[in-house]
Amino acid sequence: MAAVQDGPMELDAEKETKPEILSDGTSNLSGNTASGTMSSSPLTAAPAGGAPKMEDQQTLIAVLQFLKRNKLMESVDILRREAGLGEDQEDSQALDGSGGVKGDGDGGDTNSLLSRVSMASAAAPQSTLTPMPAKSANDQPDVSVVLSAYSQQGDPSLYKVYYSDLKNFIESVLDCHRAELSQLFYPLFVHMYLELVYNNNENEAKAFFEKFSGDQECYYQDDLRVLCGLSKKEHLKGNEALLDFRTSRFVLRISRDSYQLLKRHLQERHNNQIWNIIQEHLYIDIFDGMPRSKSQIDSMSGSLAGEARREVNKVKVFYGLLKEPEIEVPLDDEDDEAENEEGKPKKKKTKKDSMGSKSKKQDPNAPQQNRIPLPELKDSDKLDKIMYMKESTKRIRLGPENLPSICFYTFLNAYQGLTAVDFTDDSSLLAGGFADSTVRVWSVTPKKLRKVKSAAELNLIDKESDDVLERIMDEKTASESKILYGHSGPVYGVSFSPDRNYLLSSSEDSTIRLWSLQTFTCLVGYKGHNYPVWDTQFSPFGYYFVSGGHDRVARLWATDHYQPLRIFAGHLADVTCTRFHPNSNYVATGSTDRTVRLWDVLNGNCVRIFTGHKGPIHSLAFSPNGKFLASGSTDGRVLLWDIGHGLMIGELKGHTDTIYALKFSRDGEILASGSMDNTVRLWDSLKAFDDVETDDFTATTGHIHLPDNSQELLLGTYHSKSTPVTHLHFTRRNLLLAAGAYNSQ
């Protein structure tokens, strides 16, 4: 049995030969022999034994495909002649190998081989892997390990032995290392199980599962249940999340000391099975420093792909707010002409707006004004801003002593069909999306909803009159609520535009519709997702909107483009929640793969990955100052993240069911969360963020020891009788509005 050291060395040699072939297009013969030597061992066996064996043939075909892909046609011919392979054989083999694969099936085998060979951490861009489960490494030294596509990984019945060995070893190490090395159990377990299933060892797979599934952490139970249902190779093909699990590398953060221990142990033993799996499927992010404790690890783990690599969270994020344009607030309410921009004084009577003038120099953490193109302010927007500022002077300052009043809007007779709610910023309109594919808009204020008159009537009105804007509205059909028909599936997300002219709705029929709130008709249907769209939101400045759906991407659209402007791809499972940052330069997405990602609108890159939730994430909220992000999921916890540093800074425990609504108060002092357990809870966010400020971050390792202070931060719990809370909204004066559908059961 070859010593373990041969394994990596062989792979290294492989790596060197491949670049040689790549660069050396002209000297075909040398290239051929180079590849020939590697595959010569199976090949020499082949002519001697007559027809080549299955594995060897596949090896040859893999090499052939690789050469073809790199357009080394002469080498291809020579190799084919020498190996005695027919062209049709090779094609049929290729078809077999990539059967049922969408996307590029070209050179699938070789791609997977290449990616296995390159063990370096630049694995992510090399995801030219087709979604076939990666081929396991063979530890038998005589066959060229890397090239064989579907080889058996050792003896299936020995998997249990390997796993138990590792378990015993980990239990015997020092306490401080044990917690870290226990992180290995889950990914190893899943990969080994999938290997067994993939290689059609159903019985061994089942036995393996039964024996070791109980040892895994409790927060993986849902995943394990799904795994339990997969016992055949065919089942793997349809399951996207699992395929992604196999191709993406599970990230583990282990301290250098623990890692050395593990490596030494595994390399001492002759069955380097586990070592192979680790090299192939796991990415171990080594850090120097103290090993982490169990609680620290638990708080960060839980996502489908392990934790985030440290360098992912190091990109600079401009989390500051954009400068408000200076608008002079006239002392006299009627006097609209007195407004100016950029602080140019016009009339002495007017009072200068103090909001924008404080920070004359650029906040270093804020993005440039023109980093992304934003729509300019129209006159109506300026009027809105003035209203906003007036209202904010009347705002109540909230705090632990001064809790907001909560006004709950209950939807009756919705028959569990209420799937989405949104309020306008000034709280004048309320929209509900329903499972019967309708969207209903209500007026919250006594003012009724009016739509614009028809063209016939518009001709009759006096266009010169002062109140022409009122005259164009149709009084006859004014009503408290309007119903919008158009979708052909349940409406899962609604969002008002900041200027209250448009309403967006996203639905299971995979379209996003833009409705006009002046005519109450549908204007545009945006098609792009081919799968249900779970959430959508307008940007705080209007014009842009973001949507996320079942196809695992979030898309950025502009209202005047029928195709998305940006595609944010990277999540391993559905994107369930999408929110804009207050400065509109970043988008946060929460997903079923239990991570929250922050994306840059300018170039579509993922700038932050936050792991730690143990269930799919259904709600996100940015703090008004743009520095912090709160996320809520099905596990009932709200996690607080510092965007600038990329760290978890708080955990709020208390809810017992999925949290579907999260909102910060207007000045960021209170965080309100609403959940399916029929309660609204108020948390002291100022205190939660303050505590963080004083600690010193272990910024290099990113490990925070979170104080368990949820009880102190909880300011109040408010129960409704049996109405789960779907949406929360703070009015401009800091009154809390909540919405939900009465659930009679």
Binding site: K102, T130, R225, P373, T521, R552, R566, A569
Partner: protein, 248 residues
Amino acid sequence: MASPKTVPKDAQVMMQILKDMGITEYEPRVINQMLEFTYRYVTTIIEDAKIYSTHAKKSTVDADDIRLAIQCRVDQSFTSPPPRDFLLDIARQKNQTPLPLIKPYTGPRLPPDRYCLTAPNYRLKSLQKKVSSSAGRITVPRLSVGAVSSRPSTPTLGTPSVQTVGTKVGTPVSLTGQRFTVQIPSSQAASVKSATPTTPTVQNVLINPSLIGSKNILITTNMVSQNSSSDSTSLKRKHEDEDDYDAL
């Protein structure tokens, strides 16, 4: 929850499956839905497999046929989202183009009209018979802004009692390239004697589904019907409907 004794065996099996998969809370109709799905799927597969086996001139249906049937169906019904590497690829392509600049002062920012749903989804029929009546008035249907987009239907509103005039209704000025025609109920036309101006009413409007979303812009001209006679009754109206379709 129905007691296990009275529940048919298939439903019991389904309940057990749900329990095994860890689903403990569900509405009772879920079982029926799942059973229905199962029956439908299995029947489809077996029927397909039967077809394949007869095509291969086999006497019985065997596992290969079933496998083939499953494979052929899986791409049609159970599509799954594209694989991750494909998504990363197209995302990279899409994200390379810089964000487009926003043109100032352009009114409502909507995509080009052919991607919007704001076009009329009907077309008016041309008038078939010339009807003489009082001079000079063009009757055209009343159209409202934006009301046509969402509901495809064939409204026949009010009492149709319109005339047209000797002049053919051609294209109204504001719409280029669009054919506008008014449709006249022929029986009505016959019965009209004199133009007695009564309340303006709306005419029959035929909705041509092929035109939904394909023509240009909103109708902005105000077109009011004038001249009407009020002879028709609702019975006659039904007649007219058929005539209208025939005349097309």
